[in-house]
């Protein structure tokens, strides 16, 4: 687990003057300081902030009324089946239509306490809205479920927290990681009457909602507001700057608490495996996005004139689009396969295109090109093609000039220094070797270590979606609750 300090939190000065860089460098981290020689975004923070407002504006009350009337109130509704958290979509939309906004919000939140952020960041086009029966050949217009969900959550006015805590069980659960998985778990545990202590490595709660989602998808301080709302149930305390394997030991947690939930996320960015990977000008997209999201002054952010983003997922799109919005002239997204294999959804790719992001497919990273100062000046790629399902290099070399390269080729588990960590890991050797290593859990999110549960991106298999993490946390809480009540806990290994 990494100890991470948001380098730009509240900063108005330029990068070089931050003492944190030394700390970060000592930790072998390759953060935004590697871009310190690049020009600043310039302009004013407020002008730039205008470019990071809502990508999709909320529905007006009238729009919500019209859209909610379109829902057919299906039985065994496919949208609900497509929702990883199983939100009763037909029911909450009917509540919206019947002017029962609080009822609608509770319907959502009882399945997904992060219903507000999921309404904004969920790839609804591949989940509920894809499944909507109105998304048929004749109509092709699914109900705007995501926007309706946001309408309900944003407009509900609760007097106090809408969920009550059950009478105290006298049990206390440790939750490691204050991201969507950990906090969803904590909230559900609190509802069930347990005390919860959350340990978070960073300085703020929220996980990827706070640090990882494109700023225009989750603007302002929504992520913090949502966490505040969640915590208002009571019974949850959070300790920051607490990293497993660093100043937190699993054995110690187990000894002190009745159960442990690990919602560690995937803190490590995968490596390209090329020489020059640590050169100034090359960094992980997630680190830049984290800095961008925490920046007190967007104008002070280093912004390359020409940039390459390597990857084909939603993070790659988020990175490329945000660079464009910060004023980069030329952003090229490079992927070693074709469009059809991109994990970014069609909707995301459209966003990139409307921002004039160049998308170069069938090109695999070959070499990082450096200038005489050892800084990134571009990349060399080799063209690829598919033959009998296998990806082959064609021998044709392509060079793309760039002032910075951002890799968005996936995240992996950070190496855990905890002595008990090996017991958690996936035993499948091929997954361990190809960097897909995650914590192994059973159907109830129990790890191999009795009393230790895990969920969210850090477990296999996962879709790496916020909504999936929330579901993991929720289900793990129910499993913890049941296991504790049935006193089924096995002996702790000595």
């Amino acid at each position: 687990m990494q100890t991470w300090t948001p380098a730009f939190a509240g900063a108005t000065e330029t990068c070089q003057h931050f003492p944190q860089y030394e700390v970060l460098k000592q930790k072998g981290m390759h953060m935004i300081e590697s871009l310190h020689y690049l020009p600043r975004a310039g302009g004013t923070h407020s002008a730039l902030s205008e470019r990071f407002t809502d990508l999709a504006p909320p529905l007006t009350a009238r729009q919500a009324a019209i859209e909610s009337a379109r829902c057919l109130y299906c039985y065994d509704a496919p949208c609900t089946r497509a929702c990883p958290t199983g939100i009763d979509v037909a029911s909450f939309i009917r509540n919206i239509h019947d002017h029962n906004i609080e009822g609608a919000a509770v319907k959502i939140l009882q399945q997904n306490i992060f219903g507000g952020s999921c309404a904004r960041v969920c790839p609804t086009e591949i989940l509920c809205e894809d499944a909507c029966v109105r998304n048929n050949d004749a109509e092709g217009q699914p109900v705007k479920i995501g926007l309706l969900q946001r309408h309900a959550i944003d407009n509900a006015q609760f007097k106090g927290h809408p969920f009550q805590r059950a009478p105290s069980t006298g049990k206390t659960i440790a939750v490691v990681g204050a991201g969507p998985a950990g906090l969803a778990c904590a909230h559900r545990l609190a509802m069930l009457g347990h005390g919860v202590v959350v340990f978070e490595a960073r300085e703020k709660p929220g996980g990827l909602n706070e640090y990882g989602i494109a700023k225009y998808k989750l603007p302002g301080d929504f992520a913090q507001q949502e966490v505040e709302f969640l915590l208002s149930i009571g019974g949850i305390e959070i300790h920051y700057g607490q990293a497993l394997g660093d100043n937190l030991q699993l054995a110690d947690l187990h000894a002190r608490f009745d159960a442990v939930f690990l919602g560690l996320g995937l803190a490590a960015s995968r490596r390209l495996g090329l020489t020059g990977e640590d050169a100034p000008g090359l960094m992980a997209a997630v680190d830049y996005i984290a800095t961008l999201r925490q920046a007190g002054d967007l104008a002070a952010l280093p912004v390359p004139r020409r940039a390459i983003v390597i990857g084909a997922g939603n993070t790659a799109i988020d990175m490329a689009v945000q660079l464009k919005r910060l004023g980069a002239d030329e952003v090229t997204l490079v992927y070693r396969r074709g469009f059809e294999a991109m994990s970014a959804t069609f909707h995301e790719i459209e966003i990139a295109k409307t921002h004039f992001v160049r998308i170069r497919t069938w090109a695999a990273p070959l070499e990082v090109l450096l200038d005489e100062d050892g800084r990134v000046r571009g990349m060399r790629f080799e063209e690829t093609r598919l033959e009998d399902g296998r990806l082959l290099n064609t021998g044709t070399i392509v060079e793309i000039a760039a002032d910075a390269v951002f890799k968005a080729i996936g995240q992996g588990m950070a190496a855990l220094a905890d002595p008990l960590a090996p017991g958690l890991e996936n035993e499948l050797e091929h997954e361990r070797s190809n960097g897909n290593q995650r914590i192994r859990v059973d159907a109830s999110f129990r790890t191999a270590l009795p009393g230790v549960y895990a969920g969210g991106d850090c477990v296999a298999p996962g879709q790496d979606l916020t909504v999936q993490a929330v579901q993991h946390g929720k289900l793990a809480a129910l499993a913890i609750h049941n296991d504790i009540l049935s006193k089924a806990e096995a002996a702790w290994p000595t």
Binding site: A69, L72, D76
Partner: protein
């Protein structure tokens, strides 16, 4: 092109579409606009004795559908709030300027002979083509012994109709209230009094909805409300039935009927005509959309008539009356079974849950991975039509007649009927 003109108990009109007695026919300005738009006739807003009625502020309310379309409409307005002289003057002028259009004058005066005797010559002098007796207004006026207070008592209907037939040569149309148990009684009374025709339905007693914060119904006048008259598409089924009841009653089957109640399209009008109406009256649809709707109504009716080979209104008038019968004469051997077009099915499951929860458990839900397949169980289906009604996709579920090979047999002959007539 089909001939839309009608001769309704002697009243000629270029088309069967009349504006009903209501705010749209309140004064010359509106009526002239209506005639310019193409309406075949109007029933002028009900005249009464001077001093004219006084209306309250806040007069209408409505029942809205999911998309805020108006399903039903409610009003608490009274008869004309303008003086008799002004109305008569305007009626005269408008009829003179539009001689080819039907001009019927609605009337409501106290239930005594003298007021009727006095007002009828005045109306006749305007050149109007006929009169309509407002025995239907369900709000306000009945409290003064008029409107529905008359329409709910057949003997009064007969009496007033007779006075009218005595004191005017004009055709007399008696407008009936639906706020009774059997509409045939007032229709027979009107006929007995000498009525040339009946028109129906007037509005239905109603409260559309409430302000739950103020705990008062709409429309709100000060802190209170009162029941109003309901109209609009919501009342069409009630009106169609009452028209059919009169049309198929042997005692009144020759009595011309002007159909009123939720007519907003050419097909609504065609339905009323097929069930016995000789003209139709429209109000709510015009109030919601303006007079221009008559264009689509005329065009649609005319094209449909052409497609069916109906040369004039009489060609299809009353054509559905004979097919409207008592329950006991329905064919007990007839059988339909639902059929789901799997190509059109969007897998919403509404047919399934409706049948499973509330009907005959005649639809199977087959889970095929993420997909669902809904199939009718022919042996369980009783042919109730519920699934077809709940299905959001047009023509996806159809009710298919089954070849039973059995002859027509009604309940009076059914061996399952303990009181069946022995063949």
């Amino acid at each position: 092109m089909a001939d839309l003109s009608i001769d309704f108990c002697g009243i000629k009109s270029p088309n069967p579409f009349w504006l009903a007695s209501a705010p749209p026919t309140d004064k010359a300005y509106n009526v002239v606009r209506a005639f310019e738009a193409g309406w075949g006739g109007v029933v002028w807003k009900t005249l009464g004795e001077d001093p004219p009625a006084v209306n309250v502020s806040s007069r209408y309310s409505a029942l809205h559908g999911k998309n805020r379309e108006v399903i039903g409409f409610n009003n608490i307005e009274l008869i004309t709030d303008r003086s008799l002289a002004i109305n008569l003057e305007e009626i005269t002028a408008v009829k003179k300027a539009w001689p080819d259009r039907a001009m019927i004058v609605s009337l409501m005066v106290p239930c005594e002979e003298a007021p009727w005797r006095e007002i009828l010559p005045l109306v006749e002098a305007t050149g109007a083509d006929g009169i309509e007796l407002n025995f239907g207004c369900p709000h306000g006026m009945p409290e003064r012994g008029m409107g529905a207070a008359v329409g709910q008592q057949p003997d009064l209907i007969e009496q007033v109709t007779r006075w009218c037939k005595t004191y005017t040569r004009l055709p007399v149309i008696v407008k009936l209230t639906p706020n009774i148990t059997d509409v045939r009684a007032p229709a027979r009374a009107a006929l007995a009094g000498g009525a040339d025709a009946v028109s129906l339905i007037n509005t239905v007693n109603s409260i559309t909805h409430l302000d739950l914060d103020r705990m008062v119904a709409y429309p709100i006048v000060g802190g209170a409300s009162t029941h109003g008259g309901y109209c609009g598409s919501a009342v069409k089924p009630i009106a169609l039935n009452m028209v059919a009841e009169i049309a198929r009653d042997p005692l009144t089957s020759r009595l011309p009927i002007s159909g009123i109640g939720g007519i907003g399209s050419w097909s609504d009008a065609a339905e009323f005509i097929a069930l016995g109406a000789g003209s139709v009256q429209v109000c709510t649809a015009a109030m919601l959309h303006g007079f221009r709707i008559v264009e689509e109504m005329k065009d649609g009716l005319s094209r449909w008539m052409d497609s069916k080979g109906y040369e004039n209104i009489a060609a299809f008038s009353r054509k559905a009356v004979a097919n409207t019968t008592d329950w006991k004469y329905l064919d007990m051997n007839y059988q339909v079974i639902a059929s789901i077009d799997q190509e059109k099915c969007i897998q919403c499951g509404k047919c399934y849950v409706a049948c499973e929860d509330t009907s005959h458990q005649a639809i199977a839900r087959l889970v095929e991975g993420e997909a669902r397949r809904y199939e009718v169980k022919p042996t369980e289906c009783v042919g109730c039509n519920l699934c077809e009604i709940t299905c959001p996709v047009e023509d996806c579920i159809t009710m298919v007649p089954q070849p039973t090979g059995l002859p027509y047999m009604n309940w009076t002959k059914d061996p399952r009927n303990p009181r069946a007539e022995v063949v």
